[in-house]
Amino acid sequence: MPPQRSSVRVRVHPLGDTALVAELGSRLDTALNTRAIALAAALQKRRDVRRAMAGHGMVTVQFDPEQVSLDALTAAIRRLATRRPPVEEPGRLHRIPVVYDGPDLEEVARKRGLTPSEVVDIHVRPIYRVFLVGFVPGWAYMGPLADELVLPRRATPRTQVPAGSVAIAGQETGIYPLVSPGGWHLIGRTSVRLFLPDSDPPSLFRTGDRVKFFALTG
């Protein structure tokens, strides 16, 4: 069999004079995320690339414009993106205990025509993928969330969300690592620490990891 060429097309957007965003796709999709991680890893090996960070179907690349032009790097990205990504090793699996007593659990259930315990059952069912670690230290965007739980963000974000809050919004779920403002729906809490400032790397999760929640009773 001839080597398979990918049909993934990459769109490259300049991000100022020293960075760009390579967009493999804009959907929440595990295969796209796998490709983004592989592309970031390949780019990070280049001497003219300072940092390449994968997130969802995108790779944000900071480069050294004294070493490579935007056009030359764009051409290199197009070549790299057509490569079949290596067979992905399954990301590390984390099991996260959750007490499902969040202040928005009832409202989420009501808005989706479910009971609170059905919301919990649906939330614990999948093994989620970490699509991106970022935003604040230790935060991970995970998904995809079951369609039955998809809701837009809260109209008014909370000014202070407690650390450890387990939350959902759109097609994703996440855990607030630190006390911070937040607009996601809070359905539970965990005592697992996601941001470990005295470890290196200081985040429990890495992009590509897998996460399984399980319910603890009160």
Binding site: H13, P14, L15, G16, D17, T18, A19, V21, S26, L28, R50, R51, M53, A54, G55, H56, G57, M58, V59, T60, Q62, P65, E66, L70, F131, L132, V133, G134, F135, V136, P137, G138, W139, Y141, G170, P177, L178, F195, P197, D200, P201, P202, S203, R206, T207
Partner: protein
């Protein structure tokens, strides 16, 4: 490592900063580092340090410091009226302090952030490869916090080639009075409604009081960039995000590492030092530029720094 300076009064917000921790973004930790990398690097080079050595970033109202021993320092960036024993001290110039000399800052003439480089480099807590202070998580620099009265600033061994009176020539010093930031259209600029796009590159914006090292919230024209919600992606300093409320946010050194708001513009790398010298209440405008022009500006800054190489 030896004590160099004692903090008599800390100023408004004085922190230890170096070139930051760029690799920490993989864990969601802001890259941090000096806001004005040009002034930071120039200060270090004037006292024969590595460009990325740690120095003090002094915000708006500078500290009062007493020299514990003779040391060579350079003050760059914002002109906060530095004085040694009451007499005006030159900016962008290596100055010898003797034991007992007092360095003070009398006021704000221009800019927002002055850098105090000390020969040998400031030595402080290293976290994730950098001595930069991250105030949000309380790590790096002076125990993860701003300086307080009584702190002792430690420095490393000074290079023997460090010499007083070296200066950055006048014509190479940035002018912080001009608040025009050169910027390129961002990846989502096409979402902007025509009048919003026009405002972005023509209107005056004001840096809101709710601004800090993470980013500047900008008051002024409300901009509209309708479209589907985006999945989050990696961000850089200089990105201008547009949340749904229509008030842009200019991301700075301690920026969030990822976000899902449209990025409508990105400030040219050579203009970020100018942005770093803005304070709440200051006005700014974005001037649309090209990659070619941005790279020219970047090259001339690099030449100015290279002229300081011994």
């Amino acid at each position: 490592m030896m004590p160099a300076l004692r903090v008599i009064a800390p100023g408004l917000l004085t922190t230890v900063q170096d070139a930051g921790r760029p690799h920490a973004i993989a864990s969601g930790v802001p890259p941090g580092g000096a806001m004005d990398r040009f002034a930071h690097a120039a200060g270090n080079m004037l006292v024969a340090n590595d460009r990325g050595a740690a120095s003090l970033e002094c915000t708006l109202r500078g500290p009062h410091l007493e020299a514990e021993r003779s040391c060579l320092v350079a003050i760059t960036g914002a002109d906060l009226e530095p004085r040694v024993n009451g007499a005006q001290a030159p900016m962008w110039t290596a100055v010898e302090l003797h034991a007992g000399d007092v360095l003070t800052f009398a006021g704000r003439r221009s800019g927002a952030r002055a850098y105090l480089a000390v020969a040998g480099g400031v030595v402080a807590d290293r976290w994730l490869g950098s001595m930069s202070t991250n105030l949000m998580v309380g790590r790096g620099g002076m125990h993860g916090r701003a300086l307080i009265q009584g702190d002792i600033i430690m420095v490393g061994e000074a290079a023997s080639r460090a010499a007083p009176e070296r200066a950055l020539p006048d014509d190479m010093r940035p002018t912080y009075g001009d608040h025009a930031l050169h910027a390129l259209a961002g990846p989502h600029a096409a979402r902007l409604l025509p009048e919003s796009r026009q405002s972005l590159f023509a209107a005056q914006f004001q840096v809101s009081p709710d601004s800090n090292r993470m980013g500047y919230r900008l008051e002024g024209a409300l901009l509209e960039a309708p479209g589907d919600e985006l999945l989050s992606f990696g961000l850089i300093a200089g990105a201008v995000q547009l949340p749904s409320g229509g008030k842009p946010i200019l991301l700075m050194a301690d920026h969030q590492t990822a976000g899902g708001y449209p990025v409508v513009a990105v400030v040219a790398s050579a203009s970020i030092p100018i942005a770093a010298q803005l304070a709440p209440g200051d006005e700014l405008r974005f001037v649309e530029t090209t990659v070619e022009r941005a790279l020219e500006m970047r090259a001339s800054q690099r030449e100015a720094l290279d002229s300081l190489t011994t």
